[in-house]
Symmetry: C2
Subunit: 467 residues, 2 copies
């Protein structure tokens, strides 16, 4: 059983795997390590075989638990469905997770190889440790433990594990449409979000949406000598700077016309609650990001900006000479990879129309623009005090022995909105990640104690939802 | 002897090396090919041995001609000095060139490997073909031909060939200071610039200067998940866009305070002459650059903008995710590699002070800026109708059988100003390059006929300067 909230330092600090208090969890951690070793990077076509190998391993492991498992093909990466024997009259609980991971570059910044998991300072270090293999596998191991005690679970359970979350789940919605009758649950649980602070159980009731695109500016047909041609034609690298600069006003607000039109204002109880939540103060954000300063939309706290206000971000910018020293070229082209975090009630399609119009209108003279749309997902919000919401709060209370806090998440899980649209079910966000988990970045990590809490949480949740 | 001006199509179109009209030039072209095969990239420390090997080969080839040759060490790449037996009472003519070349990336855009020279469509294709191995070696072969006819040249000749031009000649000025008495010539000739059009002999009497720097913006200590952190801290990739955009006003003029203060206005005769020069019309620039449009400072023709107006160029920009698809990170840092082409009477040191002040002042909030200064060089201007200038015009007339045009070059050869400062001698710019030579870019090339004209030009020049 867990220690009290805020007392996470009382948890056993993990000793090396070959001795100490964690000898008893070795099999579960070793299981997770096998899962983490697959470089299941879904964005890279060269890693497609690794994604498949990971899915195949997962199928076998879930079958070992006694579940009925099936690997479903999609046009890209397979979906794994695992169930117990469903019986009439019991609540149907779906638990969603994803076994694909983000790319790992810049590789040289990792302190240990991303696909060779190891434990240091009480944390598991590996790509996917938090996002999402560690969290989803805690649920699998919770069920494993329950089934070992009693081969009959208190609910009808469906695990839905996909391999395309990091590329925007392009095939999951269609899969849900095709299998709607079979899959339709009463409620869905996902652990793919964050805890506000170590030891503070957190129920998420909102998510930001997203829409992405890449803008490519093309000028001369090839790189030109900046002495012979500088001054004659537009420089795409200068132009991409101007285009990127056009996205924001000087005060940090997004300058795209109509961008804020459908943004739902924050409720007063949200602003009040969040002003007291541990782990989300401005100082916390400064400490975690190690940024020279905070920066964002005026009139909102950092927590409010991250959870409930939309943004325009440049995820990547490039063009011209990238090597050592200098090279006096006038580049042929330049690009910016853009993403927009959206909040209720912004619509991703509508926002991308506004973005595309803005980019075309603000494209500097002398270059041609190409806009390549990327993935998108709607923002999400639900009532944290519904029947299922209250059951989730109780499970969190039981697993962590502390009072849960209610938040909106800054990240995007577009499929949550799709679950509502297609399956008609709401989703409980029972995040186990910490803000310094380095997800999507080098040195991703997941505390061993959160992994263990996740195993307990799963068991408490299925019991609460069965009531 | 050459055909008439503008009649370059009457030149023998080079046939394959194993047959046709160019069988007679095979030994000279083969000599040049040996020279071009050295990957003497001075900006890359890994190519230092290649730069040295190239210099050693050059020493041996010049000794074979009967010249007195010495390889001088510098802190980086060696300088090669070659002389005939100097006699009192003759004019001392120095011919400068450089045997180092620019990097070759992006390598995949080359139609043939950059260091495996070949002839296609009457042109030599290789890195350094025009800049500068092809042009400098034409002078060497001109002297070779004269010495073969008569072991006594009409002038005291000094070849000065360096290996650091593409990194801003960091050691040449000091070398000149140490060897000033021995080297001090009456006049200097350089073929490292361009002809306005094929078959139109061109005397350059001005050069743009340059100053370079790299601006690096740093935000959070590592890449952050743009969902969990987007809105909390400044995005360095957004910030570099804003910083780059601050360099220009909306009309294309440079927005750095004081940037134009010391710019010498164009003379009326220059504007008049250039409005009639072939090969430099707006349509010519469009054709050569294959850009969607021309763009630059209002109130000036493209030729005027390129030759006699200063610019601010982004040579490279980067930050965040550079790979395939999307990755929703908030990058830790971003950079811009900047260069500024300068004209008389701008001072590079003063301009870099203004640039640094501008970048620091305009650095967006929430990021830290580091400015790394690069190389620089003063702009240059001389009288094209001096005694030596008139001799150069006569040599061009003789070599090309056409009337030379007088221009200012857009490129930078900082050492030309240093020659004036240290050696007290003016420089004749007898360019043999064409505007589609792709120097500093993939598929660099040099017409065989220009190579041959360069060999003739050298002989005519030494005879004219001896008068």
């Amino acid at each position: 059983m867990a220690g009290r909230a805020g007392s996470f330092v009382e948890f056993a600090l993990p000793a090396p795997l070959d001795g100490g208090k964690h000898r008893s969890v070795t099999p579960q951690l070793n299981d997770l390590f096998k899962f983490l070793r697959f470089p299941s990077i879904s964005t890279s076509s060269s890693h497609a075989p690794d994604v498949r190998a990971c899915a195949t391993w997962l199928v076998e492991r879930l079958e070992d638990m006694g579940l009925l498992v099936r690997l479903h093909e999609t046009p890209k990466h397979p979906i794994v469905i695992a169930k117990n024997a469903h019986k009439p009259g019991r609540r149907h609980v779906m638990i969603y997770g994803h076994y694909d991971v983000q790319p790992v570059d810049p590789l040289e910044l990792w302190e240990s190889p991303p696909f060779e998991p190891e434990i240091r300072d009480g944390k598991i270090w590996a790509r996917g440790a938090t996002d999402n293999k560690g969290q989803m596998f805690a649920h699998a191991l919770g069920v494993d433990a329950m089934l070992a005690e009693n081969p009959d679970l208190p609910v009808n359970l469906t695990f839905l594990f996909e391999g395309e979350e990091e590329i925007g789940s392009p095939n999951l919605a269609q899969f849900l449409v095709h299998n709607c009758d079979e899959l339709k649950p009463d409620v869905i649980a996902i652990s793919d979000t964050g805890m506000v602070a170590p030891g503070v159980p957190t129920l998420g009731y909102g998510l930001r949406g997203i829409t992405c695109c890449e803008a490519i500016l093309r000028g001369p047909s090839g790189d030109l000598h900046s002495g012979l041609f500088g001054g004659s034609v537009a420089n795409p690298a200068s132009a991409i700077g101007r285009l990127v600069a056009s996205l924001h006003k000087i005060d940090g607000t997004v300058a795209i016309s109509g961008f804020y039109d459908d943004v739902r204002p924050l409720e007063q109880w949200e602003r009040t609650m969040w002003s007291h939540v541990p782990g989300v103060s401005d100082m916390d954000y400064l400490t975690v990001t190690k940024s020279p300063g905070l920066y964002g939309e005026p009139g909102y706290s950092t927590m409010e900006r991250v959870s409930s206000r939309p943004t325009a971000e440049v995820n990547g910018i490039g063009g011209g000479y990238q090597g050592e020293g200098s090279k006096t070229v006038l580049p042929s082209e330049a690009f910016a990879k853009l993403s927009f975090r959206l909040v209720p009630d912004q619509d991703p399609k509508r926002i991308m129309e506004l973005v595309a119009h803005h980019l075309e209108w603000n494209c500097p003279p002398g270059v041609r623009i190409e806009i390549i749309p990327g993935h998108d997902g709607k923002p999400y919000i639900t009532d944290p005090n519904s029947t299922y919401g209250l059951a989730a709060q109780e499970a969190l209370r039981a697993a962590f022995d502390a009072e849960p806090v209610l938040i909106r998440e800054g990240g995007s899980i577009p499929i949550v909105q799709t679950f509502r649209d297609v399956l008609g079910a709401d989703t409980l966000l029972l995040g186990l990640g910490l803000s310094d988990a380095q997800i999507h970045a080098p040195n991703e990590n997941f505390p061993v104690e959160n992994f263990e809490a996740g195993i307990r949480l799963n068991q408490a949740l299925l019991k609460e939802l069965a009531k």
